[in-house]
Structures are given as C-alpha cells and as structure tokens.
Symmetry: C2
Subunit: 262 residues, 2 copies
C-alpha cells in the first residue's frame, strides 16, 4: 500500500509554471526519500484532484521527472520511482595480458569475476571500407579495407553494451578474427599471435543521449544516457591494430581509470 507522500500546495504567487512546481514537489519527495526507489508515484487522477488542474498539466510534470531519469511509467500500472541497478565497474586493467594468457576475453573475465553471467549475441562479421574517423585512428587510407566485427554484450540476459571492432584486413586475414568465435583470449590474443605485441590503448569517452536504435538494442529506459567509448589499440611499434567503437548503458557502468602522477 503506497501511502501518499503529502505534497505541498501550489504557490499562487510564484510565476514558476504550475507543471514545474508540481515536478519540483515530486522531485523533492524523491530526494528526501519520502518516495523511495520502486515506490509508486500518485496516479495522474490523484494528482489532478490534489492540485485541481487539468490532466495535461500533470502529464507535463511527470514528463519532466521521466526525462530526468527519476521515474519510469508502466502502462496500466502506474508511474514508479526508478530503482538503480547495481553497476559494474570497468577497471583500467581489464586488458591486462594475464587475462588473455588465461584464455579469457576482457568482458567474460570481468563479468564472471563480478558473479554475473556474461553472454554475447548479434555477432556479425563483414569486410568494409572504414569511415573517415576509423581510417584516421587506424592510420590507413579511406580505400583500405577492414574487418568489421559487431556484437552485443549481455549480463544475465540484460543487454549492456554494443561494440564494433575494426581491424585492418592484413592483420585479421587468416585468423580466427574472421570467425564468430575468436578463440581463447579473444581478438587481442589473435592479434598478438600474428606478431603484434600490444603496447597500450587509448580510450576516448563521450556521453550523450541514445539514438533510437540504441534505445532498442540496449533496452534503455527514458532519461538514461549512454557512454560512447572509442578505444584504439596500439602495437609496440606504434601501429594502431584495432579500433573498437562501443556504446554502453550508463545505468550499467562506472568507468574507472588509474592515472600515474608522473
């Protein structure tokens, strides 16, 4: 039984829009914990009655909270305070050689270590000409060809990340990189077998709201942004050997990096 969160009345003097005042009241109730995670927000009808306003005004207010990522609406059930799932911490040593030597790809090793069930689906392998951005990162020409591996990562069945790797064909050719199953240690192990010793990675991270397709692929709730991370892998002679373009649900991850003070 959800007890009502005792909302204040409207301030008739304020020139702040009514729907914003209502959104403020609800937001404060959430921040104070008066409405806890998972709690049901009063129904539109109840709020209309409490504030004496039209339904669209209430819906505008609820829309504000939803776009702030504070609530989710469930058709036929009600509006609920978002509960934040436990997040995974992506540490900066996840590409350590010792993991590859143990035959584990980064995602698998890390997820199992945290007690989740990792899986991968939607694996597609094609040969494509690189986009200008990818070509620049790989230091290759716009007509050179690359192997494009795209896939989706899931934890306990919940999609958390999509990734697309681009590897120059000369490196990928004749290796298991062209197969759906890349074998023990994943792509990076295959690249090293080919004679490229991995030296370091550079990760560029942006944050933005998801595109429509990303909402679908990651089953994102409204108001949840994504990390857009592009990683470039360099061999010890400075050659870029792979670019990996990933989109991650910000709900599922905390990215963690260690920097030397030098």
């Amino acid at each position: 039984m959800a007890e009502s969160p005792s909302l204040p009345d409207l301030d008739p003097i304020s020139d702040r829009a009514v729907f914003r005042q209502i959104a403020d009241h609800l937001r404060e109730a959430i921040e104070r914990g008066q409405l806890a995670e998972g709690d049901k927000v009063p129904s539109e009808a109840q709020l209309m009655q409490h504030y004496g306003v039209a339904r669209m005004t209430i819906r505008n207010a609820l829309q504000v909270l939803q776009s702030e990522g504070l609530t989710v609406a469930e058709h036929g059930r009600g509006v609920f305070v978002r509960s934040h799932p436990p997040v995974r911490r992506l540490a900066s040593d996840r590409f350590a050689r010792r993991h590859r030597e143990q035959g584990k790809a980064a995602f698998i090793a890390e997820t199992e270590g945290a007690g989740g069930k990792p899986s991968v689906d939607s694996i597609e392998i094609t040969e494509v000409k690189p986009s200008p951005d990818v070509a620049e990162r790989l230091k290759i020409g716009p007509k050179d060809r690359t192997v494009r591996r795209s896939r989706r990562y899931l934890i306990n069945g919940q999609p958390v990340e999509t990734a697309i790797s681009y590897i120059p064909v000369e490196i990928a050719k004749g290796t298991q990189i062209m197969q759906p199953d890349t074998g023990p240690g994943g792509i990076y192990a295959r690249i090293e077998e080919k004679g490229y010793r991995l030296d370091h990675f550079v990760e560029d991270i942006k944050s933005r709201m998801p595109l429509r397709d990303e909402v679908r692929a990651l089953r994102l709730a409204p108001g949840v942004p994504v990390f857009h991370l592009v990683r470039t892998a360099y061999a010890s002679d400075g050659t870029p050997v792979e670019v990996c373009d990933t989109v991650m649900s910000s709900d599922a991850y905390v990215l963690s990096y260690e920097l030397p003070a030098r």
Copy 2:
C-alpha cells in the same frame, strides 16, 4: 531562408503513434543532413498544416527530439537543430608533475593550451564533516574534518564544470589550500610541498542526466547529460590526500585515457 525539408506523409496503416512518426520524419531529415546544424525546424503551425493534426501532437513530436538532444527550442524564434560546440579533450596526462612545476594548475594549463580563456568563479571554502562516500575514499572516520573547496570552471565565459575537493584538515591546515587563490601549481603543488609525494589518481566516471541545480550552474540545454567524475589522489605511501567530485557538461568534453597493455 530555411527551405522546407520535404517531409513524408503519415502512414495511415502503421500503428506507430502519430507523434512518433512525425518525430521519426524530422529525425531522419536531421540525420540525412537535410536539416543541418543550426537550421530552423518548420514551425509548429507549418507542421500542423502539413500533417493535419492538432498542436499537441506536433508538440509531443518536437518534445521527443528535444529530449534526444537533437533540437533546442527558442521562445519566440523557433526550434533549431542543435549545433555541437567544439569539445575539449581531457587527456590523462593533465596532472603531470611538469605542469605543476611550471606553476600551472591542470585546468588553466590545458585550456590555455587549447587557445581558450579559462576562468574560475564561485570559489567557496568551508570545513565540513565528510559524506560517507568521501570518508571511505579518503580512508578517514565520519567525524574527521575535511576542507571543502568548491568552484566552477568556465571557458570563454561559458561554464563547463563544477568541482568540489575534499582534503583532510591535517593536510590542508596552514597551507594556501585554505585561501581562494591556492598559488602556483594549485592544490596538488601545495599538497606536495607539505611532504606528500603524489603517486597516482583514480577516476570513477558515471554518466547521468543532470539535477535541476546542475542544469542551472552549467547552463545545460535540454537533452544534455553530464559526466559525474570522482577523482581520488594518492600519495606514494598509499594515503589518499584528496577527493575531487566534479560534474561536467557532456557537451564540452571528451575524456581521454591511455592504458598500458601490461
């Protein structure tokens, strides 16, 4: 003169909501470049006429695009395709000792290097008991006191980041850390003068939609998420000497990290 982007008609068979179809049409026009950055989207009246629907239906469609960060509405002028400002790349060597030795704090050095005019305002210094999270990161008790330095960073007058540092009082006491101007090289230079040699930093990064106050402090457009970054600085004996809690406009930054392959 904004030429009209030749929008398709509604699909009368589709069971996709009308406002979503309209949002899709506009989104596709933007993605195809038919509506370029800065272009004016057809007015609500024009769209009503084109599609033959009520105004609220059009407004719902425009609302979708706005919450995706694709457009901004300007009262009295129109709705425009968002133009993305040039972003700053925050590199992982920004805390290199050589910068401190040159007397530059990280933000100043980096911004000037990129040709921008850095400034800092809203500097506040208080002594507080740490939050549980900060206490844990600093490995101190909940009753130990810390110096809290909050400030806002701007580039060419545009706010891009707010930051709050917490330093244990024993470390900050009697140094310029307690003053608004921390002196050449900033906080970290003062900490090192006190005998703590900085060894490394750990940065934890989340992405989320901004709170109301953050929208105001950073003048964020609708549909723009923030990076929430917490950095902990460690001395060479492993002692945490500072925690810095920052919120950054995702419009203004690309975070860039280099990882060794080890």
